[in-house]
Amino acid sequence: MAWEIVIGLEIHVQLATKSKLFSGAKVAFGAEPNTQTTLVDLGMPGALPVFNEQALRMAVTFGTAIDADIGKHSVFARKNYFYPDSPKGYQTSQMDHPIVGIGHLDIQLEDGSTKRIGVTRAHLEEDAGKSLHDDFDGMTGIDLNRSSTPLLEIVSEPDMRSAKEAVAYMRKMHAIVTTIGISDGNMAEGSMRCDANVSVRPKGQEKLGTRAELKNINSFRFIERAINVEVERQIDILEDGGTIAQETRLYDADKNETRPMRSKEEANDYRYFPCPDLLPINIDEAYIDAIRNALPELPDQRSARFVSQLSLSEYDAGVLSASRALADYFEAVVAVCNDAKLGANWVTGELAKFLNQNNMEINAAPVSAEQLGQLISRIKDDTINTKGAKTVFEALWDQTGTVDGIIADKGLKQVSDMGAIEAMVDDVIAASPKQVQQYLDAEVEKRGKMLGFFMGQVMKASKGAANPGQVNGLLKNKLDALC
C-alpha cells in the first residue's frame, strides 16, 4: 500500500531578550547554576511576574514577518503541572488568545517548486529550569537559570508530507528568526528546538492517521532522522495489522529509534486558566505597523535579490540567505572581492566545509569575510591559483597571518613568467625520456590524459606556484612538436 506522511511541527524559539520574560534576571547560557535568577524565577512565595515588553516586540516582529494575524488582545494563561524544574507548579503561557494568529511560510522543495506551509499560531511562554542528575549521589539538582527564559512557540498546520519538507520548514523558520534578530537560533544550546507530530495514512485517504508526538528534537539532522524512523515504525505496525497509539515519544539519536516517554512524564490535564497576576496585553494597529515597517529584508526577499542583482543560481541564493549571519558574511565577502559567483563558491564550498568539520557557526568562523574577500581578489588578479588559495585559506583558518603575508611566507605567488615556466617544462621533458616516448607512441586522443604526468612534475618543480594554464599550454605545444 502507498502511504502518505503527515507532519506538523511545534517549534520553540528562545527569544534573544536581555532579561527574562517575567523577571529582570539576565538570560545567559552556561552560567553557574541558579546564579541567573530572581525571586520570580525561583518561585518564591509572594513573588510576582512582570512582563518584558521586549519579548512582545519580538513576537509581533515575528508575526509580521510571516504575514500573520496579530492578537491585539492577548492573554497569559497558567499551564498547571508539577515538575521539579517548574518552580511555581505552573508554566505561564498563552492559550485562548495568543499574540500571533494564523500566518504562513513558503518553503522550497527539491524539485525547485515552492510550497506554502500554514502557521496556526505562535504564543509567548516561559521556559522551565533544568534537572541535573549527575554529581548528586542519586539525588537530583535543580538549576533555575533557564526558568522564565522567553520562548515563542510556533505551531504549524499538518501541512508537511516528508521529513525533508519538515527540515526545509525548520530551516526557513531558522532563517527568519535569525534575520529578524529575535533569536540567535543556536540549536546546540537549545535556542531553537522542535516537537514533531507525525502520522501516516493510506494515500488518498482524507482522515488523518493517529499521530505520535516526537519531543525535543534539537538539530536539523535529527528532525529528518527522527521523522523517518518514526514513519517506518508506524508503517510497519499498520502493515502488520496493528494500530498506532496516540502518545509522546522521544527520539534516541544513538540508537536511531523513537520510544514512548514514561507515562509519568506526560501530564494530562493542565487546567489552563488566565493568569491573574498579569494583565491582558492590548496593542493597537499603530504599534503593529511601526514594527512591520521596521522589518529587515527577509530571507525570501534577500534570496530573490541575490538572483536578480548578483546573478546567483536559485540554489546558491537559497543556501546563502538561509541565515542572516551567513548572508551578511557573503555580502561582506562580495563587497571586498566584487565577484558574487566566486564569493558564493567559497562561502558554500571551502568555508562551509571547514565550519562543518569544526562543528562551528558562521559567527565563530576564524576567517573574516574581509579576509576571504581579499583571498578571492588574489585569485582574480592571478597572484595565486585555486590550489594555492586553499592553502592560504587553511592558514587563515589557523590564524597564522594575513592573506598577502601567508602568500609571501609560503611562496605561493603564482609564477606567470613565461621564460621561467618554459625552463621548467624543458627540464621535465628532458628528465623524462621514458614518459615522452610513451606519449609519442600513444594514440592522439589518449595523449591528453598522459599530459597529467608532465603537469604534475612541472607544478611540483614550481612548488605549486606555476600558473597551471600556462604550463598546460606550453607542455602540449612542446610535446606535440616532438611528434
Partner: protein, 488 residues
C-alpha cells in the same frame, strides 16, 4: 501602653515621653505576658524590632522623623519579612525565612515603623474564624470563647487586646473586615490594585488586597498612606498618584447619599445585628446623610462564584509548595510522586486541602466552562450591580457579617455554614471596590461592625465617613477591659 491609638503613640514619641526602644520593649514584654490567652502572635521579633526601634530613635534625633517613625506594629504572617520567619500559619512554611521584604513591609519600614512580630491567621488566609491555623486557634479578646474572625484573626486580636496599635491584614473575601467587625476595630480593604501584592503570599490573586487594622479611622488612614501606592513589581498595581487618605477625614457628611441594599438585610441577618446597623445608619443620617434603599440583586451569587474563583486561583498559587525548593518536605520520599503527595498531604491543613481540591476540580477539563467561566460571568454581574448602585449613591452600608463573633468550634464541622459567614463581604472583592468595617455597637458583649463600601479609589471618602461617625460615637474606644456598653 494598652489601647493607645497609633496617632497617640506617634505624638508621645514626638513629645519625647518615651523612645521607640522603650515602647517596643514594653510592647514585646506585654505580648509575652498576655498573649498566651489570645494566641494572636506566631512570631515575636525582638531582635529585629529593637534594631528598627534604635534606627527610628536615631532618625528622630536627627530630625527626620515621620508620623510612623518608631511606632510599633505587627504584620499578618502572610507578608514576607526579610530574615524573619513567615509561616502563613502553615506547617508547610513553619521554618521558612524569606530572603526579601514585601513591598508593603518595605514601605512601612521606610517610614520608620517598627515590626514587633507576625500575627496568627487562618492557614494561607483560608478561613473566617482563625481556627484553621497550624499554630492553634486565636481567641477573641472580647470573649475568649468566641472566635476573632478570619483570616486576619491574629492581627485583629492583637490590636483589640491592646498589644499593638496597628496591624496589617489581607482581605480576599472579608478577611480584614470580618475580624475587624468581630473585634471592634477599624479595618479597610482598599480598591484592588491600591496596595502592592508583591511579597504577600498569594491566596487568590485576583481578589487579594492588603490593608490596615487599627482602633480608629484616623489611624487606618495614616497606615494606609504608608502601605498604598504604585509598585512596578506588581502588574496589577494601579498607576495612581499616592493619595493622602487623611485629607478628607474632617469633611462634613452633609449631602452624602448612602444606599442600603435590601439584600443585606434579609432573613439570614441576626436581628440584633440589624438593630445595631440601623442605629448606626440613623446616626449617619443625623450627620446630614441621605439614606436610599437600593438593590444588589446578584449578591447571593457571590458565595458560589467566590468559592469557585478563589479556590481555582489558590489551587494554582499553592502549587509551588511542593517540597522541592523550600518549606516542609516529607521524610524519606520514595520517589518524586511520593515527595509531592506526602509533602502536600502532611504540610497543608484540612481547609487548605479542601480548597485546593475544589479549585483543581473547577479548573479541570470538562468542568472549566461550567464552573470557572460561569463564575467569572457572575463576577461581572456583581460588578455591574455595584456600578449601577454607585451611580445612584455615594456609598453603600450594611452589616459586615450576619452575626457577631460566634463560639469557637461552633462552625468547624460544617464548611458551608462557615462560607455563608462571608455573604456580605465577598462581593466587594469580586468587584474590586474598597470596603471597610467600623465599630457600631455590641450584641451580648460581642462587637458589631458597620460595613461601608464605596466606588473605586474612594478610600478617603470611606475613612471620612467612619471618622465622622467615630466623632459622635465611642464604640471604637471601648476595650475588652473597659467595655460596659452591652447591646446597641
Amino acid at each position: 501602653m494598652t489601647n493607645k491609638t497609633l496617632i497617640q503613640i506617634s505624638d508621645e514619641l514626638s513629645a519625647g515621653q518615651y523612645s521607640s526602644r522603650e515602647i517596643t520593649q514594653d510592647i514585646i514584654a506585654d505580648i509575652r505576658a498576655r498573649d498566651a490567652q489570645f494566641n494572636s502572635f506566631i512570631t515575636v521579633s525582638e531582635e529585629l524590632a529593637l534594631e528598627q526601634a534604635d534606627a527610628a530613635d536615631a532618625r528622630r534625633a536627627a530630625g527626620h522623623a515621620e508620623l510612623l517613625t518608631g511606632v510599633p506594629f505587627a504584620h499578618k504572617d502572610l507578608f514576607c519579612t526579610q530574615g524573619l520567619r513567615t509561616t502563613c500559619a502553615s506547617k508547610m512554611l513553619e521554618d521558612f525565612i524569606p530572603p526579601y521584604e514585601s513591598t508593603v513591609g518595605q514601605r512601612l519600614l521606610a517610614t520608620g515603623a517598627v515590626c514587633v512580630g507576625k500575627t496568627n491567621m487562618d492557614e494561607f488566609a483560608m478561613g473566617s474564624s482563625n481556627e484553621n491555623s497550624y499554630f492553634g486557634a486565636v481567641k477573641n479578646p472580647w470573649d475568649l470563647n468566641a472566635v476573632p474572625g478570619g483570616s486576619s484573626g491574629g492581627s485583629a486580636a492583637a490590636v483589640a487586646a491592646g498589644l499593638v496599635p496597628a496591624a496589617t491584614g489581607t482581605d480576599t473575601g472579608g478577611s480584614i473586615r470580618q475580624p475587624a467587625s468581630f473585634c471592634n476595630l477599624t479595618g479597610i480593604k482598599p480598591t484592588y490594585g491600591r496596595v502592592s501584592r508583591f511579597g504577600i503570599v498569594a491566596y487568590a490573586s485576583s481578589l487579594d488586597q492588603a490593608g490596615p487594622m487599627c482602633t480608629t479611622a484616623a489611624d487606618a488612614a495614616v497606615m494606609l498612606n504608608a502601605m498604598a501606592g504604585f509598585d512596578a513589581q506588581d502588574s496589577t498595581s494601579v498607576q495612581q498618584d499616592a493619595a493622602d487618605f487623611t485629607a478628607e477625614l474632617n469633611q462634613p457628611l452633609a449631602g452624602l447619599k448612602v444606599g442600603l441594599p435590601k439584600e443585606f438585610f434579609g432573613s439570614g441577618l441576626d436581628p440584633q445585628v440589624a438593630d445595631c446597623i440601623m442605629a448606626a445608619v440613623k446616626q449617619i443620617e443625623a450627620l446630614g446623610a441621605q439614606i436610599v434603599d437600593i438593590s444588589l440583586p446578584n449578591l447571593e451569587l457571590s458565595i458560589p462564584a467566590y468559592y469557585v474563583i478563589a479556590p481555582s486561583e489558590a489551587s494554582s498559587n499553592l502549587s509551588r509548595f511542593d517540597g522541592v525548593r523550600y518549606g516542609y518536605r516529607c521524610d524519606q520520599p520514595e520517589d518524586l510522586m511520593d515527595l509531592y503527595c506526602r509533602t502536600r498531604a502532611e504540610g497543608f491543613g484540612k481547609e487548605v486541602k479542601r480548597r485546593i481540591m475544589v479549585g483543581t476540580y473547577a479548573l479541570s477539563e470538562g468542568y472549566y466552562d461550567a464552573y470557572y467561566v460561569k463564575a467569572q460571568r457572575v463576577r461581572r454581574l456583581i460588578k455591574d450591580d455595584f456600578a449601577r448602585a454607585l451611580a445612584q449613591v455615594d456609598v453603600i452600608m450594611g452589616p459586615v457579617a450576619p452575626t457577631p463573633a460566634f463560639d469557637l468550634g461552633s462552625n468547624t464541622k460544617d464548611p458551608v455554614a462557615m462560607y455563608l459567614e462571608d455573604i456580605y463581604t465577598l462581593s466587594a472583592n469580586m468587584a474590586g471596590i474598597p470596603a471597610m468595617s467600623t465599630p457600631a455597637g455590641f450584641v451580648n458583649g460581642r462587637p458589631v461592625g458597620l460595613h461601608i463600601m464605596g466606588n473605586y479609589f474612594a478610600e478617603a471618602k470611606l475613612l471620612n465617613i467612619a471618622h465622622q461617625y467615630q466623632q459622635v460615637t465611642d464604640w471604637h474606644l471601648q476595650t475588652p477591659t473597659s467595655n460596659t456598653a452591652k447591646g446597641a
